[in-house]
């Protein structure tokens, strides 16, 4: 009997199952394990207790990002706990021969930025990390998902996980995006439609012309926020855009071996006739620049819209969310004042994001009431941006230009939004207190966050007044 048609997810899954445990999960082989300072120390301590080493240090890669200050690197780390966490990672990596992309290696950065950048992330792989935004790497057609620290310990010890298979969901976005609409707007639109639990138990494969038309940076933004819809992972089938992004990266095969690998990658796709457990079709034309208004990423709307009323009477969660955000049902979301603008995070800190942000910032000034931060995702991106003089554009506009790290997305490293303040943020979570106790987060694209920084309020980037006469226009 011929093999039945399979989805991309099923192909990668089947290729990594070592054993199907009776009445239980599968022993799933992991090709790449990424670790960082916050969720790994307890796992290494667990190994020590068991007297076990790291089984495949060659398949394990580390960096520092979450707790690391984004202030100049020659300044000491003031927070003793953060410093200890970073030192602990350094010791663990040295003791277990794990490659650490440390500060000033030229390769340090947010774990989900440097994996693809170094070519550690490759199509068809299984990739895990003790971080929920591991879904980012699915943009390359890799099965990538976040795990807890006990699972980090398991992968360090065995290079395997015990996993049950997920259901599959296709989200097809067809058509052309309107000018000014980005990958961030696509994913916020999707989550606003299916909800923050809409993807639970599923791996989402994104298809359709609006997805395949995206750059790798855009695809990473989409897959990154799959977890915000509750999905286990996001996937996009590899194509020539994927291959060209990876060509020449330090950790991919080189020369003829690359071309051979690329042939295999291009064959990785969902078969005609394969069946997904669930399918959703969306039209790219329906998407406008999006912003969130509530306290989860599903509470998002187009910038031209008004804050909706609760769907049902007595919805305490909804009432509490609007009260926390200091919004009222019926008010236009545009015009909402902000205090901080943050351009960064594993969602939107790549070179294309910085170019889009700089294009809006050029020749304009950050509103006098607003603090603006630009935090590149990696040392390599920072260097690239500086070679393009983007940092001069940001600084001339009044933005702070900082060192790479997770920064104000998770507010662990001293970069925080003050209680009650509102932040236009390119990150991924608008949970209560996520950017600091009492912080109010509005998620949006880099261009929209810069526009908000300039206006001092949420605004449709497409309606921004022309920049000063010295500006050379947007690219």
């Amino acid at each position: 009997m011929p093999d039945r048609s399979k989805t991309l997810y099923e192909k990668i899954w089947d290729a990594h199952v070592i054993e199907q445990v009776t009445d239980g999960p599968s022993v799933l082989y992991i090709d790449r394990h990424l670790i960082h300072e916050v969720t790994s120390p307890q796992a290494f301590a667990g190994l020590a207790q068991r007297g076990v080493g790291v089984r495949r240090p060659d398949k394990t890669s580390a960096t520092v990002d979450h707790s690391l200050p984004t202030t100049p690197r020659n300044e000491p780390i003031a927070d003793a706990q953060a410093k200890n966490q970073i030192e602990t990672l350094r010791q663990n990596c040295a003791a277990h021969r794990v490659t650490l992309y440390d500060v000033e290696s030229g390769q340090q950065g947010i774990v989900h930025v440097i994996g693809p950048e170094l070519g550690l992330t490759q199509p068809g792989q299984t990739i895990v990390c003790g971080d929920s935004h591991t879904s980012t790497h699915g943009a390359f057609g890799a099965l990538a998902f976040g795990i807890g620290t006990s699972e980090v310990e398991l992968v360090l010890a065995t290079q395997c996980l015990l996993q049950a298979p997920s259901k599959t969901m296709e989200i097809r976005v067809e058509g052309c995006l309107k000018p000014g609409v980005t990958a961030k707007d696509i994913i916020l639109f999707i989550i606003s439609r299916i909800g923050v639990g809409g993807g639970t138990g599923h791996v989402i494969e994104y298809t359709g012309s609006a997805i395949t038309g995206l750059s790798m940076e855009g695809r990473m933004t989409v897959c990154n926020m799959s977890i915000e819809a509750g999905a286990r992972a996001g996937l996009i089938a590899p194509d020539h855009t994927t291959v060209e992004y990876l060509r020449g990266r330090p950790c991919v095969p080189q020369g003829e071996a690359f071309d051979e690998a690329a042939q295999a990658w291009l064959a990785l796709k969902t078969d005609d006739g394969a069946v997904y457990d669930r399918q959703i079709l969306l039209k790219a034309e329906d998407i406008e620049p999006m912003v969130t208004y509530g306290t989860n990423p599903g509470m998002a709307l187009g910038i031209s819209q008004t804050v909706p009323a609760a769907m049902s009477d007595g919805d305490e969660d909804y009432v509490a969310a609007l009260a926390y955000m200091q919004l009222e049902a019926g008010q236009p979301i545009a015009g909402t004042a902000i205090d901080v603008a943050f351009i960064g995070s594993c969602t939107n800190s790549r070179i294309e994001d910085l170019r889009a942000a700089a294009a809006i910032a050029k020749g304009r000034k950050v509103h006098h009431r607003v603090r603006g931060l630009v935090v590149p995702g990696s040392e390599a991106i920072k260097q690239q941006a500086e070679s393009e003089d983007l940092h001069r554009i940001f600084m001339a506009a009044g933005f702070e230009w900082r060192e790479p790290g997770c920064s104000m997305c998770i507010a662990m490293n001293g970069d925080m939004v003050a209680p009650g303040q509102a932040c236009a943020s390119t990150s991924n979570r608008n949970f209560k207190g996520r950017q600091g106790k009492g912080s109010r987060t509005f998620l949006m694209s880099p261009a929209m966050a810069v526009a908000a920084a300039i206006e001092g309020a949420l605004v449709d980037v497409r309606t921004l007044a022309p920049a000063g006469l010295d500006a050379e226009g947007v690219c």
């Binding site: 070592i18 054993e19 445990v21 009445d23 239980g24 999960p25 022993v27 082989y29 916050v38 969720t39 120390p41 307890q42 301590a45 667990g46 068991r50 076990v52 979450h66 707790s67 927070d79 706990q81 953060a82 200890n84 966490q85 602990t88 003790g130 971080d131 929920s132 976040g146 795990i147 807890g148 620290t149 006990s150 699972e151 398991l154 010890a157 065995t158 290079q159 395997c160 015990l162 049950a164 923050v196 639990g197 639970t200 138990g201 977890i227 915000e228 509750g230 989860n296 969660d317 998770i410 507010a411 662990m412 209680p419 979570r429 949970f431 209560k432 207190g433 996520r434 106790k437 009492g438």
Partner: protein, 197 residues
């Protein structure tokens, strides 16, 4: 891992949907390098005001003495969404919870809970709302959660079955963790690696 067999306890009613792990334990408390000591910061921003003082019982169910000592937390849809931090189940356990009953759970939290003997029990919405009403009316009422029979006995005696993967159930009943199970298969893993194209 500690075994979980059966629990009889009072309940903490926390009727909210989409409780994310940033609520369970805010990121600023994740700078430790151990698995212990997170309970004091559990639901910190729900329990403490801007000045770091405990909120009154009227403003936070966690500070309501009627529910002190409850080992079962009861909540709504999509409990534990967001960040994969295992500090969330560590904090819940450290605070004293052994079971979370909810309408549904986020995937990563559910997995992390099972690895820490924190039993996640998903029950239909009407059952959970009924339980919430019962414990709001009488905080002293007891619920029995029995893993072997996969049954929850609610106040008043009604029984409700819950689902759990048979392998995970056995691991919890016996207090066995994944690492030993997979380490026992090292030869098989090595053979698989060697045979890989």
């Amino acid at each position: 891992m500690e075994a979980f067999v059966q629990l009889e306890s009072t309940c903490m009613p926390f009727w909210r949907d989409d409780i994310d792990t940033d609520q369970i334990i805010p990121a600023r408390f994740l700078k430790g390098t151990t698995r212990t000591g997170y309970g004091q910061n559990l639901f910190y921003d729900w329990r403490y005001d801007e000045q770091g003082q405990l909120k009154p019982a009227s403003a936070s169910v966690f500070n309501d003495p009627r529910y002190a000592g409850a080992q079962i937390l009861v909540s709504g849809h999509n409990f534990g969404c967001g960040s994969s931090r295992e500090h969330a189940p560590w904090a819940l356990k450290d605070f004293g919870f052994c079971v979370v009953i909810a309408v549904s759970f986020a995937d990563i939290f559910y997995n992390n809970a099972l690895k820490n003997s924190l039993l996640p029990v998903a029950l239909p919405k009407q059952v959970v709302t009924g339980l919430i009403e019962a414990v709001q009316a009488d905080a002293s009422c007891q619920v029995v959660v029995d893993l072997a029979t996969q049954q929850v006995q609610l106040p008043g005696g009604a029984q409700h079955a819950f689902d759990i993967n048979p392998f995970r159930k056995q691991c919890l009943l016996e207090g066995v963790d994944d690492v030993g199970f997979v380490l026992a298969r090292l030869a098989q893993i090595e053979a698989w690696e060697a045979a890989r194209p």
